[in-house]
Amino acid sequence: MVKLAEWRGKEIFRRYGIPIPSGRVVRSAAEAADVVRTGAVALPVVVKAQVLAGGRGKGGAVRFASTPDELQAVVSAMLGMQFKGETVKELLLEPKVAVGRELYLSIALDRSARVPLLIASGQGGVEIESMADDQLLRVPVHPFVGLAAYEKLRVGGVFSLTPPASKELGGLLDALWQAFQREDAELVEINPLAVVDGHLVALDAKVIIEDDASFRHPEYAEIRDDRTPLEEIAREKEIAFVQLDGDIGVIANGAGLTMATLDVLSQFGGKPGVFLDLGGTDDPNKVTEAFLLMAKARPSVVFLNIFGGVTRCDTVAKGLVAAMTQVPDSDRFPLVARIRGNNEDLGRQILESAGITALSDLKASAQAVVEAEKQRKAGGGS
């Protein structure tokens, strides 16, 4: 999932022929001054922080400037500011326009119907989550035929546009559909799609590209603004990495087993922190990698829950013991391991000989993990 900053989304829109304001991205006050002085963007301007979180308007991440001095003040205040955990590094400057109406338009996947779903609303400008269901038109779009004329008419119906905007809608819808399909997007969203001087203009752009399609889209590979260094390492090794609020580290293989492990831990009062999902694999090398990655996240205690399918448990156990020796003493943590599958008894023996708690029952393992954390905390651990 590659969430694109607004300006990158708008650049895609522009390529597909969706009208956008003629803006510029700046990364310093000097750049901003240049943009206005050269007339690339004329005052008054709107200054939009290029962060991925929503609610920028209310949160002070969208501001206005009417004079060069005002602009300097606004840009200086915004660059470097924190917004919902993101640091503002880029600002998009666009001419301030008189917005007539604000509409909503997006295309995303409908998993149940297995077709893309276009969503339109005549009441745009607010987040879709806050819109009432009866204000949303849902139009399934079959991937083999694209948007049919009658579907465009339905969108036209909820937008109730007048010319020239009404004439522009069909082309804009086709362009949005093409962008969704050809860019391998998970989401293309225009909110608001505004009527400005009678014409349709995409005032915002939210585009999410599917990670799995990166072999077709190397151009998105470098856009990873929203990842921590550990997340980046995990991604390269194809390990799902999620940071939660607690301190217990969880390593498991498979999304379902990982979630079930968290469920059981929570049941016994454990608070998961980082968790790593290796996917469906039980490849010993990947177990080792996950283990070393986990060490870097400095958990208080680690629960390793692997269901071995292909690999034998003793092989996984040996890899784990070897990995344990690579963790520096300062990063050491208590480990509870549960490895099920072929040769699981032998695997447990190997782990226990190395001083690792090895169990086979999930419930008992979870209890042991929670107990180990309590002891560590009681012992004044980090």
Partner: protein, 294 residues
């Protein structure tokens, strides 16, 4: 035919010369499956673990009568591999490959519908009927022939639960791992009718997870059309909202697709819903006793 695979199943493995393809060819054969052919373009004429390799699925079908394909080819080539299988007359394709773009899966799903080819997966464990055949990667050790059907969106969690069923002395009729990707070829509501019609299945275990609405739709189907007892478990009760819990794409959105909504829908449909995975086997045994099947 039990459900999807049985002793007439003749498997062709697409991508047989890759590591996964070879490993699981061995495992499928150990399970007792007739693995009759492999396909790797350019390697026709070779043998992998005693299985003849062909350059194309059409060749494999013509020479060996293969009727089910298990696809291990890398994601960028999976779409075309499925199209090839379909065009060659294969009517069941188990796609193990993960990371297939969902736009490709949309094409594959609808092309399969058009041509009459069912997809299990992608990114899935596949199908196994103990004592008959396996098309996929579920570990052989968890199985024992019996009369419990299992259908699941998860991988290893399924192995865990299937294993648990074995450990309480029960066995499985057919186990289907649907895969948890955003677009799957066969969902719960597609799979449940197969179990309903299967005389060898007395009860179905449904293993779901948060995200999407497949479990809610399954509940609706069970309520209206399903006559056999159902025991369900939904993973992810403790998952925080808005966090992506794995590459399978389990995102909670708009209050739908939560563990609570899924559990409540299934309970209302008459299913027994386990709180934890290790509770499933006992609940299965109990429902079977109540139904007089054991």
């Amino acid at each position: 035919m039990t459900v999807l695979v049985d002793s007439d199943t003749r498997v062709v493995v697409q991508g047989i010369t890759g590591h996964q393809g070879t490993v699981h060819t061995v495992q499928m054969k150990l399970f007792g499956t007739q693995v009759v052919a492999g396909v790797t373009p350019g390697k026709g004429g070779a043998q992998v673990e005693g299985v003849p390799v062909f350059n194309s699925v059409a060749d494999a079908v013509a020479k060996t009568g293969a009727n089910v394909s298990v696809i291990f080819v890398p994601a960028p080539f999976a779409r075309d591999a499925f199209v090839e299988a379909t065009d060659a007359g294969i009517r069941l394709a188990v796609i193990v490959t993960e990371h297939i773009p969902f736009h490709d899966m949309l094409t594959m799903f609808h092309y399969g519908r058009l041509r009459g080819t069912r997809i299990i997966g992608p990114n899935c464990p596949g199908v196994a009927a103990p004592g008959k055949a396996k098309a996929g990667i579920i570990p052989n050790v968890v199985f024992r022939p019996g009369r419990v059907g299992v259908v699941s969106r998860s991988g290893t969690l399924t192995y865990e639960i299937v294993n648990g069923i074995k450990e309480v002395g029960l066995g499985q009729s057919t186990c289907i791992g649907l895969g948890g990707d955003p677009v799957v070829g066969t969902s719960f509501v597609d799979a449940l009718p197969l179990f309903e019609q299967d005389p060898e299945t007395d009860l179905v275990v449904l293993v779901g997870e948060i995200g999407g609405t497949a479990e809610e739709e399954a509940a609706e189907y069970i309520h209206q059309h399903f006559s056999k007892p159902v025991v369900a478990y939904i993973a992810g009760r403790s998952a925080p909202e808005g966090k992506r819990m794995g590459h399978a794409g389990a995102i909670i959105a708009r209050g739908r697709g939560t563990a609570a909504s899924k559990r409540s829908a299934l309970m209302q449909a008459g299913a027994t819903v386990a709180d934890f995975p290790y509770d499933v086997p006992a609940l299965v045994a109990q429902r079977l006793r109540e139904a007089g099947n054991r």
